[in-house]
């Protein structure tokens, strides 16, 4: 692994690198050929189906496999979850669980004031919701801005561009648990960062005891881990912008900032949508990364709503599937509405 930089470093030359690239191509080509061969076999039956049902109905055939899986592993479970949410007890099979009506929902929403989690009976759920919202807002904003900045820099004419791209992309390959572990070791009381701080005469900072710091590092680490991919998507967009547009702007002596706003940003917008949507999805679903890093603490300052649901269903001695299901149904509805809203907004901006 330590060899990675040396392999990826220079853009030009290096027999070894060429050999590697060649091997990569060979692998790629053989996979491609194999898959191509398999797909060729599908050609005939597909033609027969098309003849039988007509081209008009072909989209259903294309949709079928995906929706069979969707049905089995997404829609059916969601339906079962709704059933779970109106039952109580600890039995696993819905048929053995006593009906509880809307009790679980009533319990979740038993709040003095919805603005103060402390006044809620199930305060952890509401704290989770609030923390997740905070996390997503900071994380997505910073992620988009930083990826944009990095993509713009990586798009400049600089030496060792390939190497730098690799460097920024590399953390994407690490598992969330590993990412969190590495940073936990760096940030803890006796970690690398505090060792550095004390070397420069500072005082050790207990990052995981302070709610502000804990949230900051949760956001930071999550950006560290995922920025590479978003940078890459934006970089792709930047490179697709025809250079004659810029040359024309240069001839007119248009100010740089205006070039960026009038040419770069609008043409980059489709990629920006992908980045925003993907990072939002990832942000909302965040669980193991933050959990391993901060344990949801201090107190409950970085407890995410997905962690709450998981713990309610699994970690407590009484595995409360009913309450967890109710919470996930509520979360699901909120997310559904938010997704639609967000798409509507981004669409509008697109126009």
């Amino acid at each position: 692994m330590t060899e990675l930089p040396s392999v990826a470093v220079q853009e030009g030359g290096g027999l070894r690198r060429q050999a590697l690239a060649a091997t990569g191509q060979v692998i790629g080509r053989s996979v491609g050929r194999l898959v191509g061969f398999a797909m060729g076999l599908v050609d005939r039956p597909m033609k027969a189906i098309q003849r039988a049902i007509g081209a008009k109905r072909m989209p259903y055939v294309f949709l079928l496999p995906n929706f069979v899986f969707f049905g089995l592993f997404v829609f059916l479970p969601i339906a079962i979850n709704v059933v779970f949410s109106v039952t109580g007890g600890t039995a696993l099979f819905p048929s053995q669980r006593p009906f509880a009506g809307l009790d679980q929902y009533a319990y979740l929403f038993d709040c003095g004031s919805f603005l103060d989690p402390n006044s809620c009976r199930e305060d952890h759920f509401w704290r989770g919701v609030a923390n997740t919202a905070k996390f997503v807002v900071f994380q997505v904003t910073a992620m988009v801005l930083l990826s944009l900045l990095t993509a713009v820099i990586l798009n400049m004419k600089i030496r060792g561009r390939g190497f730098f791209r690799a460097v920024y992309f590399f953390p994407v390959l690490l598992s969330p648990v590993v990412v969190a572990l590495i940073w936990k070791w760096i940030l803890q009381r006796d970690g690398l960062l505090n060792a550095a701080i004390t070397t420069f005469g500072g005082q050790k900072i207990l990052f995981f005891v302070d709610p502000g710091w804990a949230m900051f590092w949760a956001v930071f680490v999550s950006i560290w881990a995922h920025m590479g991919l978003y940078t890459l998507i934006l970089l792709a967009g930047l490179q697709a912008i025809p250079s004659d547009l810029y040359e024309a702007a240069q001839m007119d002596a248009t100010p740089r900032w205006r070039v960026f706003r009038r040419i770069t940003l609008p043409l980059l917008w489709p990629n920006m949508i992908v980045v925003i949507v993907l990072s939002l999805i990832k942000g909302v679903q965040t669980f193991d990364e933050v959990f391993v890093l901060t344990g949801g603490g201090p107190g409950t300052a970085t407890l995410m709503v997905v962690q709450y649901i998981y713990e309610t269903a699994f970690s407590n001695q009484v595995q409360n599937f009913g309450l967890a299901a109710a919470a996930s149904v509520v979360l699901g509805i909120v997310l559904f509405v938010l997704t639609l809203l967000q798409l509507a907004v981004t669409r509008q901006k697109e126009r």
Partner: protein, 426 residues
């Protein structure tokens, strides 16, 4: 193509593993988690068993503890469990365990040596069945960095010293040697109750139902809360993670930053390895309070699972592993405190341990024989983990400053009530 062949080969291997030929042998599966080397030792013992019993094969499925704690109950509920499992939540799993009584060679041996612990593994209304045995008995107890005491020139409190005495002494030491943690306490319900029982928590009301927050409980909670305010304890353990997450101070103790670390017998082998000769550490008897000086017992048991198709074979494996010579070897190689009364009386020899580890294990073994009945009852109580989890979660919030101690009391009571009610719904 050649290179693509490697993953393909693996894929085929994986595929063939699923449909390997069936032998006349009975294959049993044991789910097992490890804190240290116990998985390795058990694998050795099982290999020996298989040599003597060619008709049985035991596959040891080594899993993370998380799988035992979170996934095993779901798997058992759906009928997908293993034949045997090493579990910690003995009460919670008790409804899935198999009574080995009809299959064992000598139930007298089991009752005589595992008697008091069997009660932990049984369902509430049952006082006869034999579900398994303790692979490890743990008792809580403090480890003290003796070298720090010597450096500070402070005398170590004696055998029947109270928690207050220790708090004062350790704070003194910490101030003189500039250690950040006078006292560290694992973020765990067991460890909290070691303090709470000393302070006189009664746990159960007159009707046998839990009354968690009583005078003794409040005294302990107040004391620990106060220690965080006065700097006797650092927020890093109790105040830094949420919910029921466990946090220990192994690293801090190893780096001589902790004067007194309330943890338990299971740490002995690790400290023996990691601390080495860097400083002198000793295990001391549990400090005292108005409620006595008892340790909180705990541990993990190997239990047989009801859904097994081969109860007879399972019993043969269990009989072998629980037999005195085998179990003695197991405890001695893992540096565990014996959960076997006969062995406890004789004393287990720990040849691989250093003198200070041996001394510590001796202290813990003595503590194990002096556990108060209430502590024993709490460990065996089916809903004990509900109580532990509520305490950790809510007390942690109070310590981190998110809520007050009074709010924490209310929420602990409410959490326990709610979860017990949920469990009672049929």
């Amino acid at each position: 193509m050649k290179r693509f062949g490697v993953p393909l080969l693996f894929a085929l291997m994986a595929g063939s593993a699923i449909c390997s030929p069936v032998h006349a042998q009975t294959t049993l599966r044991m789910a097992w988690y490890s804190d240290g080397n116990e998985g390795e030792v058990l694998a050795d013992l099982l290999k020996r068993f298989e040599e003597q019993n060619k008709d049985i094969k035991v596959i040891l499925d080594q899993v993370p503890y998380k799988a035992i704690n979170e996934n095993l109950p779901v798997q058992l509920a759906s009928g997908q469990g293993p034949d045997m499992a090493r579990v910690v939540d003995l009460g919670g799993i008790s409804r899935y365990t198999l009574d080995l009584t009809p299959y064992l060679k000598d139930t007298g041996y089991w009752n005589q040596n595992f008697g008091p612990f069997l009660q932990w593994m049984r369902p509430a209304d049952d006082s006869k069945s034999i579900p398994g045995f303790m692979t490890q008995l743990t008792v809580t107890g403090p480890f003290v960095n003796k070298t720090l005491f010597e450096q500070a020139g402070v005398a170590m409190p004696g055998v029947r010293a109270t928690w207050e005495d220790w708090a004062k002494a350790t704070k003194d030491v910490a101030a003189k040697v500039q250690a950040p943690f006078p006292i560290a306490l694992d973020r765990s319900g067991h460890r909290f109750y070691a303090v709470a029982l000393a302070e006189g928590a009664k746990i159960f009301g007159a009707d046998g139902q839990p009354v968690v927050v009583d005078e003794g409980f409040k005294r302990a909670a107040q004391m620990i809360y106060g220690w965080h305010k006065s700097g006797v304890m650092s927020k890093e353990l109790w105040g830094s993670v949420s919910g029921t997450a466990y946090r220990g101070a192994n690293e801090e103790f190893k780096n001589a930053q902790v004067v007194m670390y309330l943890s338990g017998s299971w740490q002995t082998s690790q400290f023996d390895k990691t601390v080495g000769n860097a400083f002198d550490w000793v295990a001391v008897p549990n400090p005292c309070g108005p409620g006595g000086c008892t340790s909180m017992p705990g541990g993990a048991g190997l239990v047989a699972i009801k859904s097994t198709k081969y109860p007879k074979e399972v019993a043969r494996v269990m009989d072998y592993l629980a037999s005195e010579p085998v179990l003695s070897e197991f405890y001695s190689r893992t540096l565990f405190v014996p959960g076997h009364l006969g062995l406890a009386k004789k004393g287990v020899d720990y040849p691989s341990a250093s003198p200070q580890a041996k001394a510590a294990l001796k202290v813990f073994s003595t503590q194990a024989s002096e556990v108060a009945p209430l502590a024993f009852a709490l460990q065996g109580y089916v809903n004990s983990r509900i109580i532990f989890n509520a305490v950790i979660s809510r007390l942690g919030q109070a310590i981190s400053g998110e809520t007050t101690l009074d709010e924490a009391y209310k929420r602990i009571t409410a959490d326990v009530d709610q979860q017990m009610a949920e469990r009672a719904k049929k």
